[in-house]
């Protein structure tokens, strides 16, 4: 019995245990909360890397919780798809945790810091749990753990608007989760099983029944609400804008990405690709919705004055890209989606971290007030520019690779209309980021007083993300190879 055998469960147990330890240990010293969180997220990241390596060497890992044999017991499964997502998400979480210390000290009242980190780690537990579980009811439980922690974290924002943003998110998030719960109930009613692999075996015989189609409808609506697909996005901009900066970054970079992963799991693993393409052609609907999301997200981002709100609307557009790749359902487009999950997490994480650093130093959130910051905070703004270029999809940045694969996937699916959609949206992205960059570098410095750059503790994680944006643009083969395996596993060919 070696410890590595238990890695699939340890990756969630560690944050969970640290959530219990933080309120006890940080009584002695406030900073312990941050130490413990950083250590736990770092170890989770290392475990994720080791899991992905094991998957590469030995193939799919199946972990039986409490040694109960599936489908009776709860099974944790790690394959190329969730191994990859696990590495991406735990890496981003680790960097954001590293960054969090100063920002949290500034934005959260001193006596609340230890509770903040406790809830933070519960949030992380929920996200990582959603990724590794192979049991559909367990998935629901983790969705609720991360959502509940998420509501509390958003409500920790400084202004009172954060409270109402969190409340609205709670109402919509509960509707979404309850729909997913109903979907699970319908599947269980027909098949008598909750194990995802087992469901995959048993469902095809029942594809024609109304019950299974109803279940699928509940899943689609619930998950679309969770990932804020265009018409169901209203909770997102306020939640991202008013949350504490660290939480804005964490939500934008990880929470919706994990939602997208769950969507891929349900669409391609629990149901088979034939179901969404042929039995009920819901893929067509998702293609249309995502096209609208891509354009509308970018258009709405154009008109925003608050930079965080602009980034939030931009996220809605980017979610459109990812769903587009899923709905086109061929190997190239799914690769594009999965690479975009990584890229968007890096870019949006980086952008939100820079915005957080500016808030930490100056309290500015308005785009017009960014004038002259290029001279005052040169390093932060350089990171911002790199991430913004990658968002636009300039060649040699990561954003280009995923858009390239999405466009190839669209052509292969015969949906050439989607190529101009991607191009127009890239153009719009360039316009709304240009407004910020123009203010930063090319307008007189109106920011008076002495402002120096963000502290090193904040700059290092930000630059790590910005560097990755370039690194994965030049050395694209690493994510391309892994996602290639994952896409092959999902739809074959």
């Amino acid at each position: 019995m070696s410890i590595s055998q238990h890695f699939p469960v340890l990756v969630i147990i560690l944050p969970l245990i640290s959530a219990v330890l933080i309120p006890i240990l940080s009584r002695a010293k406030k900073i312990y909360g941050w130490y413990i969180s950083s250590a736990a997220t770092f170890i989770s990241f290392m475990i994720s890397l080791s899991l992905l390596r094991t998957v590469h060497v030995k193939g799919k890992i199946s972990y039986w919780m409490g040694n109960w044999e599936p489908p009776w017991g709860i099974e944790y499964v790690v394959d190329y798809l969730n191994g990859y997502v696990l590495v991406v998400i735990s890496f981003i979480i680790f960097l954001i945790t590293l960054y969090s210390n100063k920002s949290v000290d500034k934005e959260i009242p001193e006596d609340k810091v230890s509770s903040f980190y406790t809830i933070y780690m519960l949030f992380v537990t929920g996200l990582l749990g959603m990724i590794v579980t192979g049991d559909i009811f367990n998935l629901y439980v983790f969705i609720e753990i991360s959502s509940l922690a998420g509501y509390a974290l958003i409500a920790a924002g400084r202004k009172r608007d954060a409270l109402i943003a969190s409340y609205n998110y709670l109402i919509l998030g509960t509707i979404a989760a309850t729909f997913i719960l109903l979907g699970i109930g319908y599947l269980y009613m027909m098949t008598g099983t909750l194990n995802m692999a087992d469901l995959r075996e048993r469902l095809p015989a029942l594809y024609d029944t109304t019950v299974i189609r109803t279940a699928f409808a509940f899943f689609s609506v619930g998950l679309s609400l969770k990932i804020a697909l265009f018409p169901l996005h209203i909770w997102l901009p306020n939640a991202y804008t008013h949350a504490p900066s660290v939480i804005g970054a964490l939500q934008a970079a990880t929470a919706t990405k994990v939602g997208v992963y769950v969507m891929i799991r349900i669409l391609f693993t629990v149901f088979k690709p034939e179901f969404i393409l042929e039995v009920i052609p819901v893929a067509k609907l998702f293609v249309m919705l995502s096209a609208v999301a891509i354009i509308m997200g970018s258009l709405l981002a154009l008109g925003q004055k608050d930079i965080r709100r602009m980034l939030a609307y931009s996220s809605i557009g980017q979610i459109g890209y990812i769903v587009l790749g899923i709905a086109l359902a061929n190997r190239l487009s799914i690769m594009g989606s999965l690479i975009h999950v990584l890229n968007h997490a890096l870019m949006k994480g980086g952008l939100f971290l820079v915005v957080g650093a500016v808030i930490y130093k100056t309290g500015i959130t308005n785009i017009d007030d960014y004038k002259g910051l290029g001279k005052k905070m040169p390093f932060s703004m350089a990171a911002f520019t790199i991430c913004a270029l990658s968002m636009v999809g300039v060649p040699l940045t990561a954003g280009f690779v995923s858009k390239w694969y999405l466009a190839l996937g669209a052509l292969q699916a015969g949906k050439w209309v989607m190529v101009p959609v991607i191009l127009i949206s890239s153009l719009l992205t360039a316009i709304y980021f240009w407004r910020v960059i123009d203010a930063i570098y090319f307008q007189g410095h109106e920011v008076s007083g002495k402002i120096d750059d963000a502290p090193v503790g904040m700059l290092v994680p930000t630059f790590a993300l910005a560097t990755c944006c370039i690194l994965f643009g030049i050395v694209a083969s690493v994510p391309v190879n892994i996602t290639n395996f994952a896409a092959k596993m999902l739809i074959g060919g």
Binding site: L163, Y167, T178
Partner: protein, 117 residues
Amino acid sequence: MIEFILAKYNYWIYITLMMIGFYAMIAKQNLIKKIIGMNIFQTAVFLFYISIAKVKGGTAPIEWEKAVRYDNPLPHVLILTAIVVSVSTTAVALALIIKIYKAYGTIEEDKILEMNK
């Protein structure tokens, strides 16, 4: 037709309750009333889970000797978890409402939105 409706009456009740809750969550302006709606909405789903567990002529799974058939206990267990989730959600929501009341002095959504402008 009537027999069809009557035979599945608990499902009809679940759908009716769910729609009542759903309506309250969307249409009510008072934040507490929304939470009441949310509780009805979730309870309806619990009722659905309990209904699918019923086996015709089944008893509780603890009476081993007498029972010929017994009801499926798994949905009951699942729904215990979902009840815990529901209680926690309600707790978080009520805590939020208290903070909202302290910050705004009201729990009517339209007034709060006006104050946010």
